[in-house]
């Protein structure tokens, strides 16, 4: 099949994505360093980790505020909205493809096109991460930055403790997402194809 390039990632999306990725990597590194702080094996000096984490967290929040309206205002929105339509059966179809058809090198039932850049699994994961995980991690993070805003007790549990627990749990899930996300992105025709795509804007179809 001839190589075909489709312009899928507009400039604003690429800038957002780059900044987002960098910030999240810093946040994960400093977050892990604080959570598993150990006087004998300091990974990142604690006070430094706190400052970096706080600054990156605030920047991430600002960056998210850019992502959301940009998506609503541009046609990029439809990849998420349309991508989620009839999501259950379509996800099952995609799984069947991965398990039985892809090993036989059959074509994907959801090829990447200008109209449909995400397969159902991508649509689902990206939506969960962007619409549930990121807002949760950002709001709990901001709340921890201003702990006086947190309810002292929620159903008898310490509000601060619950907020912190939720924050680190979601942080963990985002880290897992990141690992899987980067790995899945290596599954293009060439390992680097997708990474080039999110930098240049053009997705390569083979």
């Amino acid at each position: 099949m001839a190589e075909e390039k489709i312009y899928l990632y507009p400039v604003w999306l690429r800038i957002w994505h780059g900044i987002n990725a960098l910030l999240i990597i810093f946040l994960i590194a400093t977050g892990i360093s604080m959570q598993y702080a150990n006087p004998e094996y300091p990974f990142i000096r604690f006070d430094l980790a706190v400052s970096i984490h706080n600054i990156c967290g605030v920047l991430l929040a600002i960056n998210y505020v850019i992502f959301l309206p940009s998506n609503l205002a541009t046609s990029n929105r439809r990849y998420y909205v349309d991508g989620l339509k009839n999501i259950g059966p379509r996800m099952m179809r995609m799984m069947r493809y991965y398990l039985t058809e892809q090993p036989k090198k059959k074509p994907s039932p959801f090829p990447v096109t200008k109209e449909n850049k995400f397969n159902p699994l991508q649509a689902m994961t990206y939506s969960i991460v962007m619409v549930i995980f990121l807002p949760l991690v950002i709001t709990t993070g901001l709340a921890l930055l201003f702990p006086e805003t947190i309810a002292k007790e929620v159903f008898g549990y310490s509000g601060l403790f619950l907020t912190a627990l939720l924050h680190s749990a979601i942080g963990f899930l985002i880290s897992i997402f990141l690992i899987v996300h980067i790995y899945v992105c290596t599954t293009g025709k060439k390992i680097t194809d997708n990474f080039k795509g999110i930098i240049t804007g053009y997705h390569t179809n083979h």
Binding site: A37, P39, P42, F46, N54, E148, L160, F161, L165, V180
Partner: protein, 332 residues
Amino acid sequence: MECHLPEITHNSHMKIYIGGLMVITLTLFFNFPIHSQEVVIMDNEPAYFEDNKHCFQCHGQRFYTYENEFTGRIERKAMNPNLIYDADEFYSGVHRHFSCTDCHSPDYEIYPHDTELRFEEMFSCLDCHGGDPTWKRYNFELIDDEFHKSIHSPDHIEAFNCWSCHDPHSYRLKTRSNFSTREIVTYHNNTCKTCHDNPDRFQLISEELKPSLEQIHDFLPNFNLHFNAVRCIECHTEPEETMWVAHNILPKEMAVRNCVECHSTNSRLMSSLYKYQSLENRRERGFFNAIILNDAYVIGANRNHFLNVASLVILGLVLLAMIGHIILRIIK
């Protein structure tokens, strides 16, 4: 003689198992009492309530009146603020069953007081509490030793004594009573702040003018959060395993500045403030709840073992799946 041991059947296994479970559950939820009997009875009529009224009549208010014997007039005067004692506070304190003249000269009963009385030597804590088994669990002798090693010791500051921090007229037991950790923190920190955040009192013993506490501690992120959540002594003393309140205040150069001393699983808070808290919680809420209903969150110190294991398992599975996939990709 033939001896018949009871046969262990499936049924008796079950009983042993259930019995064992019950014993374990009971031990976990058993409320370990950490308060032995109250030494001071707090809910009865103070022993010298009527006698003391005479003193509180003047020393319990901002203004007092007396009859001037020379002029025959009734005079109304402002009481020296340092000599005003709130009667309610006194009767909520540990010395509530005392008569004022147990510690102060009986000559004070006469007004105007003899001016020389003010030079009378005051008792120190150990004069009454030292060497007495009744007070053993409060560790007065140990506290005295620690105090003498501390930066507050009279070797450094001559005028310093127990009363500089503990007002015997209102002293209450905080750590050994039903107060939340927050209340204990506030109470203990206020004790330090009476001088360290109050130039008038600080300059009673020092020529120096101190910068504000917030300026001194500007290296702490979120000063207020730290000050409301932990006690000054957490960083300014060497933790003392046997004492709730360490008294060996270290020179400021030796105070903890390294975040991870608290923010790690080996947190030094565990040997002081939170040791008390977790004992207290276990007493009130049972073992499991004490672990889940943690009042405070200390980054790095509050690690939930279960979540730690769960996250490692999830991470492991994800990595395994990825490695499996990579292998398949290479083979195909």
